[in-house]
C-alpha cells in the first residue's frame, strides 16, 4: 500500500490540484476523508498517492473558503465519521477550476506534442 511496497513511482499532486480533486470527489455525494482518499487513488488508477498530511490541511482550506461543509454522520456500516459535502459555492468553483484545468492541459499538450 505504501510507496515502499510499490515498485512504480507514483505521481505527486501539482500545487493546488488536490483541492480541485477533493471537490470533484464530493460531486457524487458527501464522503469522509478516508472515502475521498480511496476515491482519488482508485479513479487515478493508483497513479496518485494521497498523503494524509496534505489531505487534511487541504480539507481545512476548503472549509475556510466555504466550498465544502462538514457534518458528523453515521456510515452505512454503522460507524461515525465526518462527512464532507459540496456547497453551492464549491460547485461553482469546481466548474471554473475544471475548465481552467482543461485549458491548461490542452495548452501543455500543444506544446509538448511531438511535431508533425
Amino acid at each position: 500500500m505504501s510507496t515502499v511496497d510499490d515498485p512504480r513511482e507514483r505521481l505527486e499532486f501539482l500545487q493546488g490540484t488536490l483541492e480541485v480533486l477533493i471537490l470533484r470527489s464530493l460531486q457524487l455525494g458527501p464522503n469522509h476523508a478516508y472515502g475521498i482518499t480511496q476515491f482519488l487513488e482508485q479513479q487515478s488508477g493508483d497513479e496518485f498517492l494521497v498523503d494524509n498530511g496534505s489531505l487534511y490541511p487541504a480539507l481545512q482550506r476548503l472549509l475556510q473558503r466555504s466550498w465544502i461543509a462538514a457534518q458528523w454522520k453515521t456510515s452505512p456500516h454503522g460507524r461515525r465519521a465526518k462527512y464532507y459535502r459540496l456547497t453551492p459555492a464549491g460547485r461553482k468553483q469546481l466548474v471554473a477550476a475544471t475548465s481552467r484545468w482543461q485549458r491548461f492541459v490542452e495548452a501543455m499538450g500543444r506544446i509538448l506534442a511531438p511535431e508533425g
Partner: protein, 877 residues
C-alpha cells in the same frame, strides 16, 4: 481571501482546542476505516492495525498541519519572533542596555534637532494658503529686498496679474502717554489688505478699511491681543476710546485675536500705513515699506516677479528717474521668516545625522560581535530545520525590537532635549518657541528608528548568511564567522572614526571662527559702559534744536553722576547691525553710472561719542562745538571708507554727496577718519560707514553711552531718575550694560557652535566605545594565538606592538578618509557660514584628537593582550 480570513478569525476566537479534538476524532475514525478494510482483506487484527497506522502516517503531524491551516502564519511566527527576541534581550541585559542607550542618544538627538527644524523651517505659517504667501521688495543690480516706494506699490497692486492680494507693511516706534508711566510701544503699520492676507478677524470691533489708507482719514488704531490684555486690562470698553501715541489721539476701532505674530519683534498695535507727502508722486521716494502678497493658484513666484518686472519696465519708460533699473524681488514668506537660521539648522541636522550613523555603526558592530558569539546557537537552529529566511527574520525582529526600545527612549530624550534647546536657544530664532512634538516629528522619529533597526540588523546578517554550519557546530565558540565578522566590524570602526573626524573638524572650524570673533578687536571698549536707548516723540521734540538741547542737557547731567567718566551718544551703536544705508558719491571723482552708485552706512554721533567708546581717530579731528547747523556740514568716515577711496592719501578735506549724483542731498566735508567698529556684530566684515554730527543731523532715536570707572549696575537707578527729571513723559526703551548687547550679537553662533561641539563630543564617545569593543573582541579571539607566541618566546613588547598596530592601523585609515571627507565638508560650510575658512591646522588638530581618543580607548584591550596568561591558555587549549 476575505472570507478565508474571516472564518479563520472566527475559529481563532472560538478557540483552536475544539478544532484539535474534532480533528483527532476524525483521524481516529479514518484509522478505524483502514483497520476494518485490512481485516476485511483477511489480515489478523494486530497486523491490520499496524499496517493501517503505517499507511495513515504520522497522526500528530497530520493533526498539527490541519490545525495550522487555521492559523495566520506570518502573524503568529512574528509573535514567536518577538517572544524569542524578548527572551534574547533579557538573556543579555548589558548588551541590550548598551544598544538601547546608544540608539536612544542617536535617535533622541536627531529628533530634538528635527523638532526645531520642523517648527522653524518646515511647519507652514499659521495663515490661510500660507504656502502661496510671498514677501516682496525692490531690487537693483546690487541689492535685493530694497523697500518698495508708495508709487511702485500702487502700480504693482493695481496692475499685476499674478497676485490675489497685495499689502504693504512697516514698523514704527511710538510713545504711549496718558495711561500711567509713559510707554515705549511698537506699531505695525499695515495697508488695509493686510488682515485679509494673514486671515485674521478682530475679536472686537473692526479692522482698517480702504478709507483708512488715505492720509486724510481720522487716526485709528487696532490693538494686538497681548497688548490689550497685558497693558489695557482686556477692557472691552476700550473700543471707541483714544490712545495718545506720540502725543496724537488715535481712536481704538478693534482688537485682534491672540496668536497673530506676523511682526518680529512683536508689536503692540496696528496703525494704517499711508503715504506721506511727496511719496505719492516721486517714484524714487523710499520709506521702509515691504509688501506681503498671495500668489494666485498655479502661478510660480518666478512668473509673478517677471509680471511685476514688466510693470517696472513700463514705468521706467513713462516715468524715468534714478531708479529706472529697479525691479521686483521676492521670496516665499516661510523662507523669509526663517531667515539666517536656515543654514545653521541644516548644518546641525547634518551633524546630528552623522552622530546617528556612528551610533548605528556601533550597534551594528555590537550585534555582529554577538552574532559571532551566537554562531553556535544559530547553527543548531539551522541544523534542526529552521529555514534561512526564518532565521534572518528572527535576527531582524530582534534588532527592530531593540531599535524600537531605543526609539522610545530617544523620543523621551528628545522631548527633554528640545525643551532644553528652546530654553538655551537665542531669543531671536523665529518660531523657536513653537517647537512641539507634532505628527511630523513623531513620524520622523519612527522612520529613523525603523531605518536604524533595519541597518543594524542587516549588516550582521550579511555575515551570518555565510554561516558555515559544520565548523560552527564543531568549533567550541570562536572563529566560525570570526574573520568575516572581524572584517565587517573593522570597516564599521574605520567609518566611525572617519565620520567622527568630519564632525570634529566642522566643530573645530566653527569654534575657531567663534573664538576669532570673540577675541577680535571690536574697535571700541565695551566694558563698563551702560547703554541708554531713548526715542524722543516727534510731537514733543519738533525742532532739531529741541532734540539737540535734550541730549546735551541729559549728557551733562549724566556726566555729573558719581563714577561716570564719559558720556556720548550715537544713533546706531556697534554690533546691533544696519540702521540705514544710503547712496553717496565722492565729489571730485567722475559720476558713476546710475546702477553703480555706491552705498554706505549712515550714522549720527555727538562730539563725545568716539571718546566715550574709545574709538580711535586715525586722521583729522573729532566733531566739535563749532559744527553748528549753520556751519559747513562735516562728516567722519571709518577706515574702510577712507581706504576704499584714498588708499594712499588722507581722506580729510574730501567731500561726499549724500544720495549720490542722481538724487538731491547735502554735501559733507570729511574732517576725520575713525577706527572701524564691528557694526554688524562681532567678527563681521567692516562696511563703509559715515558719521554725521547730531548737531547738524539730529536724530530722535539715540543710544546714550555712559562709561563708568567700574561696575555700571549701581548707576542704573540714578540714570533713570535723571531722564525722568528732564522729561517725565519719556519712556526708557532699554538700559543695560553694553557688553550684553555685544555678546547677544554672538548668541546664535555660540549656540550653534556649542551644539556642534556637543555632537562632535558625542561622536567621539561613540567611536571610542566602538574601537574599544572591537579590540577587546580581537584580543579575546586571539588569546590562544598570543599564548602560543609568548610560549615561543615573544616578549610582551612585541605583543604590545602587534595589538597596538591593529588599533593604530584602523585609526589611521579612518583618519585619512575622515580628512578627505572633512575637507569636502569644510568647503560646503564656508559657503554656508560667514567667516569659516578651511584650514589645515584645525584639520590636523581634529585628526590628532580623534586618533588620540581612539588609542586611549584601545589601550585597555591592548594592555590585556600583554597580560594573557600563556600557561593557563595553553592548558585550556
Amino acid at each position: 481571501m476575505l472570507r478565508e480570513w474571516w472564518s479563520k478569525l472566527c475559529r481563532t476566537l472560538a478557540g483552536r482546542r475544539g478544532l484539535a479534538s474534532d480533528l483527532s476524532a476524525e483521524i481516529d475514525a479514518h484509522l478505524e476505516f483502514e483497520i476494518q478494510e485490512n481485516i476485511a482483506r483477511g489480515m489478523p487484527p494486530d497486523e491490520a492495525r499496524r499496517a493501517a497506522r503505517r499507511h495513515v502516517g504520522n497522526l500528530t503531524l497530520i493533526q498539527e498541519r490541519a490545525v495550522d491551516a487555521w492559523s495566520f502564519p506570518s502573524l503568529e511566527s512574528t509573535a514567536q519572533d518577538l517572544r524569542y527576541s524578548l527572551r534574547g534581550i533579557r538573556r543579555s541585559p548589558s548588551f541590550s542596555l548598551v544598544v538601547v542607550l546608544t540608539l536612544a542618544l542617536g535617535i533622541g538627538a536627531n529628533t530634538a534637532i528635527f523638532s526645531v527644524v520642523n517648527a522653524v523651517l518646515l511647519r507652514p505659517l499659521p495663515y490661510p494658503a500660507a504656502e502661496r504667501l510671498v514677501w516682496l521688495g525692490e531690487s537693483d543690480p546690487k541689492a535685493e529686498g530694497i523697500s518698495v516706494t508708495w508709487v511702485n506699490y500702487r502700480h504693482w497692486r493695481d496692475e499685476n496679474h499674478s497676485f490675489e492680494d497685495v499689502a504693504g507693511f512697516d514698523a514704527a516706534h511710538l510713545t504711549l502717554t496718558g495711561r500711567g508711566e509713559p510707554l515705549f510701544t511698537r506699531a505695525g503699520l499695515v495697508t488695509c489688505g493686510f488682515f485679509g492676507l494673514v486671515g485674521a478677524h478682530p475679536v472686537l470691533g473692526r479692522v482698517f478699511s480702504a478709507a483708512d489708507d488715505y492720509p486724510g482719514a481720522a487716526p485709528t488704531v487696532v490693538l494686538d491681543y497681548q497688548f490689550w490684555t497685558g497693558k489695557l486690562g482686556a477692557d472691552p470698553s476700550v473700543l471707541g476710546a483714544t490712545l495718545a501715541l506720540d502725543g496724537k489721539p488715535y481712536e481704538v476701532i478693534g482688537v485682534m485675536p491672540p496668536g497673530l505674530h506676523f511682526f518680529q519683534p512683536s508689536i503692540d498695535y496696528y496703525l494704517p500705513l499711508h503715504q506721506f507727502e511727496g511719496e505719492v508722486v516721486d517714484r524714487a521716494r523710499h520709506g521702509s515699506m515691504r509688501l506681503v502678497a498671495r500668489l494666485k493658484r498655479g502661478i510660480t513666484l518666478r512668473a509673478a516677479l517677471a509680471d511685476l518686472d514688466v510693470i517696472m519696465q513700463r514705468l521706467a519708460q513713462s516715468d524715468p528717474g534714478p531708479e529706472a533699473q529697479h525691479r521686483a524681488s521676492g521670496v516665499f514668506l516661510t523662507e523669509y521668516t526663517a531667515g539666517d537660521i536656515r543654514p545653521t539648522l541644516l548644518v546641525l541636522l547634518g551633524a546630528v545625522g552623522l552622530v546617528l550613523i556612528i551610533a548605528c555603526a556601533n550597534v551594528a558592530s555590537l550585534v555582529l560581535a554577538r552574532a559571532t558569539a551566537r554562531a553556535r546557537e544559530i547553527a543548531i537552529r539551522a541544523a534542526i530545520g529552521a529555514g534561512r529566511r526564518r532565521l534572518v527574520r528572527q535576527l531582524l525582529t530582534e534588532n527592530l525590537l531593540l531599535a524600537v526600545l531605543g526609539g522610545i527612549a530617544g523620543a523621551l530624550l528628545a522631548q527633554w532635549g528640545s525643551g532644553a534647546l528652546i530654553a538655551a536657544g537665542p531669543r531671536d530664532i523665529p518660531r523657536l518657541a513653537e517647537t512641539t512634538f507634532d505628527w511630523r516629528v513623531l513620524l520622523f522619529a519612527a522612520a529613523i528608528t525603523l531605518l536604524t533597526g533595519l541597518f543594524t540588523g542587516i549588516a550582521p546578517i550579511f555575515t551570518a548568511g555565510r554561516l558555515d554550519l559544520v565548523s560552527a557546530l564543531k568549533d567550541s565558540s570562536r572563529s566560525a564567522t570570526g574573520r568575516g565578522g572581524q572584517r565587517s566590524r573593522s570597516a564599521l570602526v574605520v567609518a566611525e572614526i572617519a565620520l567622527t573626524l568630519v564632525l570634529a573638524f566642522a566643530a573645530g572650524l566653527l569654534l575657531r571662527n567663534l573664538i576669532v570673533a570673540q577675541t577680535a578687536d571690536p574697535g571700541f571698549v565695551p566694558e563698563h559702559v551702560l547703554a541708554l536707548d531713548l526715542v524722543l516723540p516727534p510731537a514733543a521734540y519738533k525742532s532739531p534744536q529741541a532734540i539737540g538741547g535734550f541730549y546735551s542737557e541729559l549728557e551733562q547731567d549724566l556726566h555729573g553722576l558719581p563714577g561716570v567718566t564719559a558720556v556720548g551718544a550715537v544713533h546706531c551703536p556697534p554690533s546691533v547691525g544696519d540702521c540705514g544705508d544710503w547712496f553717496y558719491s565722492i565729489l571730485d571723482r567722475p559720476a558713476p553710472q546710475p546702477a553703480e552708485v555706491p552705498i554706505a552706512l549712515f550714522n549720527a554721533a555727538d562730539r563725545n561719542y568716539f571718546g566715550a567708546m574709545r574709538i580711535p581717530l586715525r586722521e583729522g579731528r573729532d566733531f566739535a562745538d563749532t559744527d553748528l547747523p549753520t556751519a559747513p556740514l562735516v562728516a567722519i568716515v571709518n577706515e574702510t571708507f577712507a581706504r576704499k577711496w584714498w588708499p594712499r592719501e588722507s581722506a580729510v578735506g574730501h567731500r561726499i554727496k549724500w544720495g549720490g549724483p542722481y538724487r538731491d542731498g547735502p554735501i559733507y566735508e570729511i574732517v576725520g577718519v575713525a577706527g572701524n567698529v564691528s557694526q554688524m556684530g562681532l567678527g563681521t566684515e567692516p562696511y563703509p560707514e559715515v558719521y554725521r554730527p547730531i548737531s547738524q543731523s539730529p536724530s530722535e532715536a539715540m543710544v546714550v553711552m555712559i562709561r563708568a570707572g567700574g561696575d555700571t549696575s549701581p548707576l542704573a537707578p540714578a540714570v533713570r531718575r535723571r531722564v525722568t527729571a528732564i522729561d517725565r513723559n519719556l519712556p526708557v526703551e532699554s538700559l543695560r550694560p553694553f557688553e550684553q548687547t555685544v555678546a547677544a550679537s554672538l548668541a546664535e553662533r555660540r549656540f550653534s557652535t556649542l551644539l556642534l561641539a556637543l555632537f562632535a563630543g558625542l561622536a567621539m564617545a561613540l567611536a571610542a566605545v566602538g574601537i574599544y569593543g572591537l579590540l577587546n573582541y580581537w584580543v579575546r579571539v586571539r588569546e590562544g594565538e598570543i599564548a602560543i607566541r609568548m610560549a615561543l618566546g615573544a616578549p610582551r613588547s612585541s605583543i604590545l606592538r602587534w595589538a597596538g598596530w591593529q588599533a593604530l592601523r584602523l585609526s589611521l585609515i579612518g583618519a585619512a578618509i575622515g580628512m578627505l571627507g572633512g575637507w569636502a565638508v569644510s568647503r560646503w560650510l564656508e559657503n554656508l557660514v560667514f567667516g569659516v575658512s578651511h584650514n589645515l591646522t584645525t584639520l590636523a588638530a581634529a585628526a590628532l584628537a580623534v586618533i588620540a581618543i581612539a588609542m586611549i580607548a584601545a589601550a585597555i584591550p591592548v594592555w590585556r593582550a600583554t597580560r594573557v596568561d600563556a600557561v593557563d591558555q595553553l592548558h585550556r587549549a
